[in-house]
Amino acid sequence: MGKAAFIDRRDQHLLEQIIDSATTITNAAHACVLFSNQKQLDCLFGSRCTQCSFGSVNGCSVSFANIPKKMSQLLDGEIANGYITKTDLTSFPENGSKKLSVRSQMIIPLKNSSKMPQGVLIFEANKDNTFRQRDIKIAESVSHLCAIALQKSKMLASSEKMLAASAKMNAKLKLLSDASNILLSELGNKTLSEKLDYVVMKTSEILDAQLCSLWRVEGENLSLETSYSEKGKETHDKKILSPISNKPQLGLTGYIAYECKKNRHDKGIFNRYGEELQKLKAIAKVEDPPARFVPAKDTYSELACPILDQENKFFGLLFAYNKKDENGQPLKDCGFLDDFDVPLMKILTTKIAISLRNAEQLKKLRRYELIVESTPDPVIISRRDGKIDYMNPGGFAIFGDLLGKQVGDCYYAKEGSTGLETAKEIKRQLYKTKDQRLKNYETPFLSKNGEAIPISVSVCLLHDEHGNEEGTIGIGKDLRNIKGLTDTGQSLLGLHDTDEILKQITNVAIGLSDSVRSYIKIYDEKADTMVFKALKTKNYGEVFPVKETPVEYGMTGYVFKTQIPIRSPNVHNETDYTYYNLFVGVKSKIVVPITYIDKESGNKRKLGVISVDSNSEDAFSTSDQYYLETLANYAAIALENANLISSKNTMINRLRAFERVQKSTTGKDLDVEQIYNALLEAVVDILGFHYATISAVDKNKKLIGTIKGRNVDNAFLAEPWHSLESKDIQAWVARHKEHEYLTDWDYRLDREIFEKYKHHKLVRAIIPIIARGDVLGTLETGYQKHEKAEISKEEIADLKRLVTLAAVGIEQANLLTKLKEDIALRNSLENQLDALNEASIQILNSTAEREAIDHIFRSLRSIGYNKGMLSLVDKSNQCIIGMYALGKNWQKIQTAARFELNGNNLLAHVLRSRSPRLSKNCLQDARWDKKLARKATIISQYIIPMFVKNEPIGTLQIDLSDYPDLVHGDETLFKRRMKVLETFASQSAIAIRNVRSTFTIDRLQTNIAETAHEFRSPLHNIMTQLGGLKDTLEYSQDEKAIDRFVNVIEEEIYRAKRQVDNSLLLSDRTRETLEYNFEEGLLQTVIIDCVDAYKFRALERGIRLIVRDSVKKLPPIKFDHDKIAQALTNLIDNAVKYSYDHQYVDVIGFDDGTWIKIEISDRGLGIPPKEFETIFKGFKRSETKDKFRYIPGTGLGLKICKEIVEQHGGKIGVSSVPVSHTHRRVAHYQDYKTSFKIQLPKHRKEKP
């Protein structure tokens, strides 16, 4: 009996039966069981085995040494599952010389629960058949069964029960074969759900279960697919779901599914009964859905098996509830058997898995088939040997029938290579790729007409189940149309002329084979009609029969309305629309809509339709339609780009442009920059102009220049600015406030710039940006001539409106900025004013001029003005003199700054005009001394006249050389700043005037003492002399004495009169009101009278008074006798006063023809030259006082003289020269001859 002798014969029979069934199930040719022995594998059937193809005289036995590697791994437990191979045992040496053919084999481990297999089960396929992966599952189940049978058989080997057990085993075997029958069942015509129903039904029969159910995975849930009980199929009103979760509380079914899914790699079987099951159910508190369809009150046992596909993907669960006993009652303490029901269950789930997978694959396959069949692109499948197995209709259309021919025949024989070589090259490329897919390989193919067609081919290797290469599948893309379309599309996009676009489209469209004409109908929105546009026809002289048709008219109207393209094989058979025979003989026709889809909004704009006609039936293919649709897309884009599609579109853009600008001109934080940017954006990006620039006007500098641009050369933006008065076009527009439209060079354009930036290529519009009549700048925009040759009036009107909108915003923004600046300025000015006001109090409280000036200058410095000069008016000398300088540079020129009040100089001019003046550039100011400007490096200055009421006090010059920004900046700003200074200057003027008046009063006060003395002395002398005279008359009557008394009294009266006259002239007010009476007379009489009046006085000091003869020769002139007498008396009085004792004073006269000159000289103290001028100013008595002699005087005498002489139109001067000592009383005193010279005009000119 051999090595398998431990197996009972009946067991062997059982095994033989199992194996038989398994053979049938797996569609195998043979099967054999090999038991593992110590040294070899023994065949179940021993030497008489004829099962395997390799069977020999020795049966299938194989020694371990000869076992293939993989099988020994299997026997060692290293590989757990069975596998498919190709005649693994061919190499068995025991096979002897028997020639073996290659067959597919399945090697399945023979094992129960232990890891180590007892042997192997070998299945061998028919010659033409191969095993599949799913067969392994079945085979494994069988193997499992065999193992169980062997085990049982061992257990019952010598038992009495053997027989009964065998009977039982037979019954089981029956079940197994039932199950295998199900696996085998074709169920071909049944739907998937019918198949599933069948399997579930059978499962309940086979497993003897009270109820069976099938649940499929639906997302995160388990959904009840079908269930069967003894009563038949259970029906359910609604879908029953149970969430797949590890919480039994949510549903026991879902929990079981979760457990099974989790353990699916380790079989994933759920098999529980009795107490164990009850415990679990207790946890699941919620109502367990299955309970509803289990007729019994409770479930006593449950068996669930996961449905897994090859990749262990979890499809669902097959449930069996309540194992029944022989009487059909549920077993309460016993459930489904691990060693029998479970394998059966697995076989059944395998069938379900296969059905589900097949269904899914079939579904996919059907779709693929549909795609492949319907695509116009050629698809070719070739076998490994290169023969073409399959071609789709698209392939037939291009290549003709090539089935069974070599794939190399598809390719166009290029120069130097054959089609076969191309095929080989493609194969090579294919192998090189990682995933063995070659994409978009472009090569010429050979069409059925023998033409070379550019095709981009994608090829992929096909494999059989065993991973062997089966052939290739290639999908081609005909590049002819695409290339043509792309070219057309490109050329269309370049066009801006609608008619041209339409013409080109029809030209291309008529290229379809068999077409006789193509034309386009465009939808006219206003008229709501379809207008015939471009027509391309093969019928000579054919024209559109009508101009337009109603919108829903005929096939084109239908397509336009529905937006669905129609390819009609025969227009006369169509029922959806009525076909009108506008053109004769049309049979087949394609109409596709031209529709623009806005990418951003997704909005569709129906533009029209393209139609292609043919006079033969069914002339066009789907690819023709596809081609035309693509063309229509290009057309739509081209038309849209042309920007002329409809007024609606333009309107939308216009609105958008306005909206863009509007947005930028509203809101809190207005910004001119942003408005300009928005304007540029609106003009270029939205309205579609080629470029745009903005020029701004600089009001202060009176310039205009480009500040911003879009789509222009940066260098252009940097070009220099133009004067607003220049002929420059921007300046022109800004001046004329009217837009300009330029198509070529113009005399207002700079030739150089015009050529540099190729402006001849442009059409340009320049639009002024005006806000409330003020030109803020200009907007220039335009097209390139080749894009668009002109700017329409409507466009210019739009631009103007845009600009107006922007201008309002700019103005507001400017106002806002100005307001902000104003507030800042006002604050700073207020601060300055506060500081100055405070200072003014100090200034006004100043008691001395110098003190006041110090305060003034300190205040100026405190508000940032460090340089300048304060000049004061010298009324008596009719000039204005730089008295006080602020800053070193001004100190340099201070002493030299002396200007005639009547002269043509800046300070006098400012005083005369009584308004301040800004001298921006002193070097260019004719009125300002350039030498002084250079010396003090003064560039700019501001001169403020200082007045108190109508009285000019002086000028305040503020040096602004360090503030060019202020000087050349905003005029209003400057004025505001200077206003502060002006206010300050007027306060300073008051202060200075006050100080000066105080000074005058002080001086007058001190002089009053002297004046009093001057009056008192002659009066006292008169009274004294009169007393003496009376006494003499009383006692002696001495004639001589009486004469002397009388003379002295007369003299003293005269002296007193002079004092009165002088004091009248002391005050300015009385001086101005004095009237002069000019009478002709001789000067000598006056001179002699005056000299006589001093005779005795002079004699008292031994001074001789000499009137020279020249005086007596002077001619008569017109003069005021009293005034001249007063002047001369003053001079003689002076001369006597300052003469040394015992000297002489002389008076000389000249007549030089024009002038009468009188010179009065004394010999005495003398006057230093530096005082020659000041002595005439009043209160300025010569500092060279007689150190030992009191010289009375008010210090006003010379001032009065000067005034009197000048009133006569004459002049007064003084000289003082040393003379030799004639009287050496004191050695160290030098005698000076001091001469006062008066010159009076011989012919006085009357003052107007």
Partner: protein
């Protein structure tokens, strides 16, 4: 016989008094300048002094005097005994045209017989001088 020295730079302001004073047993002398006055006072023969305030100051010496107050300076010298042979308690009548109150108070403080401000009547002057006797 009472000897009087008149210090006055304008002789016509005082010379008319001389004949009357002579008749009343006065001997009158005139000094027109500071130096001249000092010179004459050093003789020590005077019983009284008629002093003007504003007149020629002294010409010699270290300090140059102020003509505005030459009389005051001279009086100071007398009262301080700085003038040789001159009685510091010499009777002094001030006769001046100066209206300067400051000087007047200073002069008065030094002790004087009378302060007469020009113009002053003939009779009043005479009464003042005659009272010196």
């Amino acid at each position: 016989m009472t000897k009087l020295l008149f210090v006055e730079d304008e002789p016509r302001g005082v010379d008319a008094y001389f004949p009357v004073l002579s008749r009343n047993d006065f001997q009158c002398d005139l000094a027109k300048s500071f130096d001249e006055a000092v010179e004459k006072l050093q003789t020590g023969q005077y019983d009284g002094l008629s002093l003007d305030i504003m007149f020629m100051s002294r010409r010699s010496g270290q300090k140059s005097g102020n003509p505005q107050s030459a009389g005051l300076d001279l009086l100071k010298l007398i009262r301080r005994g700085k003038i040789h042979n001159c009685d510091p308690m010499l009777k002094v009548i001030v006769l001046t045209a100066s209206g300067n109150n400051e000087i007047k108070s200073k002069v008065t403080a030094l002790g004087i017989h009378a302060y007469l401000t020009k113009p002053v009547g003939y009779k009043r002057v005479m009464d003042t001088y005659l009272a010196l006797k």
